[in-house]
Assembly symmetry: C2
Amino acid sequence: RLDRERFVATMEEQARIGATEAGGLHRLALSDEDKEVRDWFTERMEDAGLAVRVDEFGNMFGRREGTNPDANPVLVGSHLDSQPYGGIYDGQLGVIAALEFVRSLNDAGVETTHPIEIVNWTNEEGSRFQPAMQGSGVWAGAQDIETEYAKTDEDGVSFVSELERIGYRGDDPAEPREEYEAYLELHIEQGPYLEENGKEVGVVTGIVGFTWGGLTFHGEADHSGPTPMHYRSDALVAAADVITAVRRIPGTLGERTVGTVGYAKVHPNSINIIPDEVTITWGFRDPDDEIIQEAYERVLAEAEHAADREGVDWEHEERMRAPSVTFADTCVDAVQTAADDLGLDSMRIFSGAGHDATHLHSVCDTGMVFAVSENGKSHNESEYTSWDDCYAAASTLAEAAVNLAGR
Amino acid sequence: RLDRERFVATMEEQARIGATEAGGLHRLALSDEDKEVRDWFTERMEDAGLAVRVDEFGNMFGRREGTNPDANPVLVGSHLDSQPYGGIYDGQLGVIAALEFVRSLNDAGVETTHPIEIVNWTNEEGSRFQPAMQGSGVWAGAQDIETEYAKTDEDGVSFVSELERIGYRGDDPAEPREEYEAYLELHIEQGPYLEENGKEVGVVTGIVGFTWGGLTFHGEADHSGPTPMHYRSDALVAAADVITAVRRIPGTLGERTVGTVGYAKVHPNSINIIPDEVTITWGFRDPDDEIIQEAYERVLAEAEHAADREGVDWEHEERMRAPSVTFADTCVDAVQTAADDLGLDSMRIFSGAGHDATHLHSVCDTGMVFAVSENGKSHNESEYTSWDDCYAAASTLAEAAVNLAGR
Ligand SMILES: NC(=O)NCCC(=O)O
Ligand SMILES: NC(=O)NCCC(=O)O
């Protein structure tokens, strides 16, 4: 059994690092706040007697040995970074639950057959540097480390320089050093389904696929007054057409398809200059990879139409493509059994958000536990999961993990 | 006759202050570069024997006395500030032409009946602080000085603090100290009409009216993945609808109506967060004030529809409303006669851009000269007017001004 009081206190402790005034979290990957929470987490892992290591991409591991030296480790964790002005639960809950899990094993003097490793993946959010799930992606071999090192944020600062600056470019190679028995991750649902169905915990069966990308339109800057309408090549008008199309496309594809333009940057961004350069992003998700491909083709077709109409040039860059993932039965069953054994009211659910588990799926059997998200809100300071729901999900994770690790 | 070589050299000199790599000008109102060009201009006016004064809003005047102590001054000038990454001609040409005009009177030992004042108006561009034509607006009584002092730029820095910082909050009241005989302004056309018609100089008959404003949409930030489309209140989608509408509205109103969204700011601006706050601007212009009012009503109606559709809140703020202006016959005739006397091929033209002359119109008889804009381009580093065309327009200005001032 997890120590509920210590668990809640530890959640509150981490939430102070990068706290926003409105009670959220602003702890972007490789920022000063990320460094601070990493330092704090290192200490907590050492206090729990774990052997800490950091890999060359900043992924942090804490290991607790098992009784069988030949057994493969069970990996449990998530991420401590946040969205800009995000919430305090997100992936943080998954990391703190993993920590509390090993602390509880220590308290109870339980030895497991398999070693247990807990993990904090680098840059899961993908907001400052893209793609999301970058640390787990590199570690699982889905992304090339040199390419990802070279990525830059909005200010042109490179990933690797920031990783070094905060002191988290470790020595360990960013790859699995051995085979893993399983990976389990607890995360908040970030959607409305558990709450809508009155459930206490979610047994995740898979993760939607997605495509992310950027579109840039190049028009001609000119004076907003004396330039007749038919002389104009307005990059923002072309971008607006695509924003509208992205709102419409999901409704023509699938029940669970979603599409979003979350980002727009306008140059020179002056009230009386016709914009000459506008960048927007796209994001589409669906459980079906073919729908993802179709959405990708449609957004490019819309961009081409819009650019033609407005007489502007355009270019695009797909920044991420993640296939839809279906979890291993062993893990789904382990999570289901754990929830049942704890007497929790659960339901099976397909994740609408990407998770580090997406990449871990290619390394070993993988599963996830979802905690209820009030109003389905996340990536927002008002993201909320009650301590009851946090505790229910953390207990499910611990129960499933200890069963997989063998006691 | 103006000294063409000195005139071109002076144009080139001013263009060095705040020069961009691409040969444009980045000299925002009340910036360090604006201070530098003001210091430079003060020296040039003093060298030309003018009595320099600066008013409490930073407008700079240089006076050359006339022979009749009772005669009202003829005022000639424009503005030295620029758009972000704008061109080197814009209003700068009008100020340098005014300076070269008095220098040439000095060279030739010409005494005029009326005093001549040359002027550099503060913040004509309206990019960093809004509205545009702010200095002339305050001076002419169209704007309240305390309200304008309190205006802030994007970083929340106030106009008055910047004016003091650069040392240009002068002692003179920002208002006409006496009656003025006339105001003449030379500016580049910023539109394509003179070039399209193969003309050498434009005789401006009036200025379009305009409305400028800001619209802000307030939606709900949420995760771009697990949030079903029908749960969303996306502020950027609402804004995109209005951007599209602004492109369309002019075509339903008048032949010369233009409409532009030059600015958009998205919060939190992350690829995987549904935007919760988006601000865009509008700008509409037309020679007919009723069309301006109609465009204003339509853009608000569009905003309301878009906000309803997306389930977001919205607010608006009109930042500027300038009536359409028709110039005094005396001034139009003086400019026409000057162009004819110089043997220049001219045409009458209505300005599609706002100018300080808009406000001066309420103070005294006002007129303008337009120089040819290649490709109609302005507010852009590639803005271009040949030295021939600059000189033709400057000569027309000088000829018209000296006639009004009486030699
Ligand atoms: N779970 C989560 O928010 N991951 C970030 C990447 C994504 O947007 O899905
Ligand atoms: N002439 C000019 O560019 N004025 C700035 C204000 C406007 O946009 O008309």
